[in-house]
Amino acid sequence: MARADQQHPSDEQEVMKGTSAVAKGVMAADPDVVSAYPITPQTGVVEKLSELVADGKLDSEFIKVDSEFNAASTCIGASAAGARAFSATSSQGLKLMSEPLFTAAGMRLPIVMAVANRSLSAPLSIWADHTDAFAERDGGMLQFHAEDVQEAIDHVLLGFRVAEQVNLPALSNFDGFILTHVQEPANIPDETEVSEFLPPRDPEYTLDPSDPKTMGAYARPEHWTESRYEIQRAMMDAREVWADAVEEFRDVFGRDYTEYGGMLDTYHAEDADHIVVAMGSIAGTVRNVVDAYREDGETVGMVRPRVFRPFPAPELRDALADAESVAVLTKEMSPGYESAFAGEIKGALYHAESRPPIKSYVLGMAGRDVKPEDIAEIVEDVKTATPRMGFKESESWPQLRPELLEGGDDR
């Protein structure tokens, strides 16, 4: 329960724009190569990193690339050469990176990226949702979602630590505008602390000509399945590596992300009859709604996956086991089926002994503001969920305005 940790902001915190704070966290991780391209709402990260390099505060090679595609591609070259490489992007930019990013996973290159989550065109929108991150779900990249600026910084550091240990790239997600452009207090880790937490990268293979290797060979059907399985195994190994990392992180930095091995963060979930599951910044607003219910004596709680890949399935089975109903709030949608997030949570519980009814609520798309009242209405709605409800009833778009649809929403 993050909010009880600190009653007063600390003097060591600075009130800083989210993107600047993340850039300073990256600086503390001391990457050899940074390669990134501007895109709203991530641009602040690139700008701040450029400024830090220009001022001599960050000693990285900063490649001012021509596109996100080549941001990812240059990071792949740098990482293969043995460098610690960082990039940042958002939305369309992440899509443009998608092709090389999948290969970074297959080639086991631990590039870390900050992703300022934003919707995907069309229509064009610059505002936050999770469509971009979910569209990269199957690539083999580790994925974390931050609730606030502090976590956005800390997840980059944890990202490097875990990515370099399991040899997978990592996407550290934080919501566009809501977290990229907010000014709020956060601790900026200093380099001494970080060097204690994050050892220099020690890759197994590099492109050193004194010990030549061939990277990026093609695999025949006889070997490809195994190479893909190795990504899966590395993902599963990452669960434990992440758990160790958050413990050490707590010891070094004093911030505690160790609940459920760092996979989940919960708020009044233990005795809750009705649980709201949400990822990213929306969880902050959910906390306030939970507080209001608790004041009225109602047992409502929240569960927030901090890590999305590897998926915290066992943890969710445990955290949701005793709920009477579960409301999944999600800022993405897989057209033709349902929210991928909700679908995965349902899948995780399929083998559980206790299977509470789960309803998914698609909201907060492309920056649509989510008010506490919106969430309270969802809680009221999910209370009526039954184990026997059909698929159609299990999905809801509470913020949809049917009056805007041609012919109305009469189907």
Binding site: G106, M107, R108, L109, N167, E204, Y205, P212, K213, T214, M215, G216, A217, A219, E222, H223, E226, S227, E230
Partner: protein, 97 residues
């Protein structure tokens, strides 16, 4: 696959599928050949044009001799060597296997 045994059947996958250098030599491409270069040692002047232009590094000087010949483990029988040979010392003959 053909009836030949897959030499990599039990191969371990390295992290990131990284391969060792200079390992293609295990793949003997000589089996692809239909025509075989045959050198007339008396006509060969040892100029090395065949070596220069062989895409498979199969044309080499013969140890202790002053003429060139062909590594039949790798020669694919393209015939470039015969074409570039200034003295027509190389003849492509249909190989009877």
């Amino acid at each position: 696959m053909s009836d030949t045994q897959d030499p990599y059947e039990n191969l371990k996958i390295t992290t990131g599928v990284v391969a060792e250098p200079n390992t293609s030599r295990t793949n003997e491409t000589g089996s692809w050949r239909e025509y075989k270069p045959v050198v007339d040692p008396d006509t060969c002047i040892g100029c090395g044009q065949c070596e220069t232009y062989c895409p498979d590094q199969a044309a080499k000087p013969v140890e202790g001799e002053d003429f060139y010949a062909f590594d039949l483990d790798y020669c694919k029988g393209c015939g470039i060597c015969a074409d570039v040979c200034p003295t027509d010392a190389i003849e492509m003959v249909r190989e009877v296997k």
